[in-house]
Symmetry: C2
Subunit: 158 residues, 2 copies
DNA sequence: TATGAAAGCCTTTGGGG
DNA sequence: CCCCAAAGGCTTTCATA
């Protein structure tokens, strides 16, 4: 788990491929990067053990789950102290509509990415789960038209 | 790929488990949700075919890749028209530092989540890749102290 | 839509270069 | 650090209800 891990070009190829498809078979992965399957297994295990690979997750379409309306909530928490901040984060993360939370520098302290079923539910979220709390000084809401996301590595072949 | 997909409680359990660990074996997944392995394979295939599951990706630690400094860039693009907007998005997505791009309502049109090696590289990104372009009216930069993220479903057991 | 059984392939381990 | 080879387990298919 040390912060500095040496990554060979082969490791980077493996990461790129697993980032694009976490369920590629070890055999195919080995063939794609040009090493033996057993070697590949070793390398992937090492990438996991050193914390370079932190997990593998299926991506689920929020809209298909009945939450087609996404938004960013910019939240100012005052006073900005641990005894208030830590429970606030816990609260955010316990909400099923919350997809991600970021603690930021700048005038707004937190950014919450949420997916809701409707404008009404979004309003409820803001009024009942955020501004109703004493430590929440203000909330700005921006809707998400569209988004693109990926891992920290460009896909293979670029 | 229709927008409305009926999801049984078993489907939701499957989604939760795959969201948490995309490499769980089909056998274990079937046992966890209480159906036969062959049935489970069918259900997962259906979830894929209907677009509920859109992919499966290994999570890679950006810091371990040498990009420990994350930030959000709020970008105003003027004039806000397709002939300018579409190439701008393409440009953002082609940058290796960019992890996600959001097209938003509000005074700032785009939000880019970036991971950089240093403050110097972040500065270069802002000056050379963003404000150097005619259509970029302004950029606000906020650093990310910490972030938490997950899929649109709460984990199993909550 | 769900199941069980069988065939084949993949993962995984251990020895060796 | 890499590879080969073998054993065991898993995936996947298909007939059946």
């Amino acid at each position: 788990m040390s912060e500095n891990v040496e990554l060979s070009p082969v490791d980077l190829d493996i990461l790129r491929l697993l980032q694009n498809d976490a369920r590629i078979t070890n055999k195919d992965l080995a063939a794609a990067v040009g090493i033996a399957p057993s070697t590949c297994l070793d390398r992937v295990a090492r990438l996991r053990d050193t914390g370079v690979i932190t997990g593998q997750h299926a991506s689920v379409d929020a809209a298909k789950l009945g939450r087609p309306l996404e938004a960013f909530l910019f939240v100012q928490v005052r006073p900005h102290r641990r005894p208030l901040v830590d429970p606030f984060i816990e609260h955010l993360l316990s909400l099923p509509e919350v997809r991600a939370v970021y603690h930021l520098t700048g005038p707004d302290d937190f950014l919450a990415h949420v997916a809701t079923s409707s404008a009404g539910e979004l309003q409820r979220l803001v009024l009942d789960e955020l501004t109703a709390r004493d430590e929440v000084a203000r909330v700005h809401t921006n809707l998400v038209f569209q988004h693109w996301s990926g891992g920290p590595l460009l896909p293979p072949g670029t």
